[in-house]
Amino acid sequence: MFFDTPASGFAPLPRLADDAGAIGRPKVRRSGREKVTGTAAYTAERDGRHSPDSFPGLLHAVAVPATIAKGRVTGIDASAAEAMPGVRHVLTPANSPKLKVPEGPPGLGFQSIEPAGPAGVESQEIVHGGQYVAAVIADTFEAARDGALAVKVTYEEEPNPVIAIEAVNGSEERPNSLMGDPPVMEEGDAETAVKEAALSVDLQFKTDTNHHNPIEPHATIAAFGKDANGSETLSVRETTQNLYGTRGSLAEAFGLKPEQVEVVCDFVGGAFGSKGVMWPQALLACKCAKLAGAPVKLVVTRRQMYGGTGHRSPTLHRVALGAKEDGTLTGIVHEGFTTSSIRDDYTDAVVLATKILYAAPARRLSQRMGRLNTQLPTFMRAPAETPGMYPLECAMDELAAAAGMDPIELRLRNEPPKDPMTGKPFSGRHFVQCLKAGADRFGWADRPLQPRKRKKGRWLIGTGVAAATYPAFGFPTEVELTLRANGTVRAVCATHELGTGTATVQAQVAADLLGVSAGRVDFDLGSTAYPKGGVSGGSATTLSVGSALRDAAEKLKAALLKHAPQDSPLSGAKPGDVTFDSGKLVLTESGKGASLEDLLEAAAKAELSAKGSYAPGKSEFSKHSFGATFVEVGVDEEFGLVRVRRMLGCYACGTILNRKLGRSQFLGGMVMGIGSGLLEVTHHDTRLARWTNDNLAEYHVPVNADVPDLDVMWIDDPDFNASPIGAKGIGEIGITGVNAALANAVWHATGKRHRTIPITPEAVMA
């Protein structure tokens, strides 16, 4: 069912006083024990040795990546590899099973998932380093790995591959769409407004390439088989945030009906967006399985994660702000420049947050893009906001300094009463509250306006603030909710467990919807055997699944009422008249009714199910979460070091369904922001167009020692204008303000602006 949000929002969920119900409680993640004891089976472990899966005769494959970034393959000599002990086959264009390149989701482009080009592996054109050109299939992983190193590939290189964003900055190409918005959005004459403004800043920024580096590498186990009718089937274990998307793509590629393809993924060991679309290893594993006539497991090596799968595009920005003397904005210009790959089109929509954060009579937002010889960039935690809000929120800080104002005060002056570009009311905003409550707790009040005022030992101390925001997305999602005669409940959905605690939280939602305790609710996910879940990206899973559960709970009422005995007070009642309450279905008015067990018994049913669905429809509201991020840094100018001393995030994301898991999501985002702000950059060789620090020793993600005590708080105000369960996403907003808050804090410590992240020792020393 598509839920068009009514102008008055959805009816609030009857929410029981704070801890009386399940929602909100800091319940421990259900798979926590398996994870800390090492028994949770991740995709690469689902090979039958560590899990109940069964793949008799399983073989192992290792991909052979291209060592050039542009040109073509002229020859593959597999003879040495084939002669090695344990090697069964070498998959090359010559023997590769044919397939159709799946189209993939519209707008994302999907050519990059096919290892060697639109025409299949037969086309041996190389458009990026690390593109798979062959694979070795062997009895053991070790034999496959060693075989892969022994495959000799010869290339004809083409000159001038490009990997540096600066090299394509002249490109006039515009992205087809910015998540549905056009690449140029204009209201009034912002350039003139900035030019004529009493106060203005006009600044250039850069963010660098990042790789997701989830601890679990991408992996696929593929097995072709036959069903009872003799039709071909494909069973896949896959690291994915998108079970149904993967199933659809695989079905298309191999000419199967979706029902003939099963995709299973119980746990994802971190993804951060990198597992939202299918990457080449999935098709490669399936091809290997076809060629070998046996199940095949293929795990992407850590090094292959840089090129085998996507990354966050580097970005360039110009942000110009004009304001009156009192700080009121008169014009906002945000021009973004991002990259995509040679064959595909995905690129980050980095100007989107600038649409909604501040009021201004004139605004111009635009994006151009260039194409690099890299794997396709892809979503990475807050793909639009992380790189896009850094320049905007730094520019606001520079404007505040130019105006001699406190940066919080400047933001309060420019608070829009409604969505500045669409004119729609916000579903819920609370940005001002986040700034104020955050500032209070952080101790912002006595902060000197001038930089370079505080020092402790060798460390210059500074504080910075920035806005956080993220849209309240939802994706089409279906669930099935089953009441059992023994009083327990089971809900199922082909959604994903990325470490976020989906099963735990949705059990809490179902529990409150049905008026039972959460411990009585099983929630199963991770398989295409269940009703369709959306991609677990865009911080949309919790909202989407929970909203579908609410729909299912309503449908269950109808089903139960149909079976209500004649002599029951429920007989003849309408779904709108009844409520689930403490294990019973009761008339809302009188409280009279019957227990769920009695109703099932009376109906002589062992269980009763209802399907529910959710898809965001049209909305009268502009739906976003907001927050404020506060950071204190110490800067050692002599050595160029920046260390985070404290950080606080205050967020307004609607209902927080589980305080413990919610807090973890915010914390994770904040930690990742320390990474992109201070540490994370994928280095490259410009001439060779290759990544160079393709390992976890030199690609620096934050370690514990980089992360001080983080403080998280939120404005707990359910937003029923945003979704039927009052929740909005929380997975991404935590990172969105960190980069700018850090850069602003470094300025406050040192007096020096950093308009490129990460902020390196070299830059601090300069």
Partner: protein
Amino acid sequence: MVPFTLTTPPDAVPNADGPTYLAGGTTLADLMKLNVLQPDRVAHLRGFQSTAIEEIDGELWVGAGCTMAALADHPIVRARLPAVRHALILAASPQIRNMATVGGNLLQRTRCPYYRHTEFRCNKREPGSGCDAQEEGADRSLMAVLGTSERCIANYPGDFAVAFAALGGTIETAHPDGNRSISATDLHRLPEDTPHIETVLRPGELISQLVLPLSPAAANGWYCKVRERSSYAFALASAAVGLELDGDRVTSCHIALGGVGTKPWRSPEAEAVLTGQQATDERIEAASEAALADANPPKGTEYKVTLAKRTLAFALKRLRDEGPPDDATLLALQHGREFG
């Protein structure tokens, strides 16, 4: 990895055309998996090598098989060799330090990306093939500024070897043609025209002991490591220093730099500026200048010269003023919190 035969000592070692030695494997196995090193015979030293730590006649004798963790935690090292302890506890991760041996540590390889990718040209990995690190547009974030040659600019990444060289350590080796002692400063060679020959060790020569003098200057020392990530990162620049002071006059001094040299970079030039002199700020700064006087930074690494000078000057001044930092102070310096 290319297939190889694995033997277990003692029969296999030492042997003139002997196998490649496997100690903790944290360098060797890593580079074999990347095909950078392709030995056809490997001899596992576990159980064969000495792991003992003993004080003998004013020296600390350490079996080459001793792990980084065990050496760092030894009471004599804690009390009398602070620079060694610091260099060890600020290196790698606890997991690696529990596996890695101090003998293997000295021989760890550069992290230069051109060395670590077989598809790139590297004179160290493949003599005469060229050096992609010196081409236009190269990633030089891990390159050296001291001791570079036209053939190679890769840095020596390790920490412990820097302290070991500073403090005048020596190694004892075993070889059928005769055992010998080699001073730490002589162990590694400059790249010059033969960057693939990294040490003076002969094929099959086994490091059996590491010997550290227990001098007053060694007891009054520390290891200052600068890196943008607070932990688990190689040094951008580091300094191992030890001072013996008579009032504020330097009677003996030990200085070596890490992260910036093609080998662990002991600096007799800097030591000469200070030895016998007052340890004034000016002298210390002059010593730092002297240490970097011959720096020849490849394009993009210029800041490392400044960083190395500052690191050394800071290390010396702080040592003069406050003596060796305890662990908590050392970590606070790394983490930038609770300090000062």
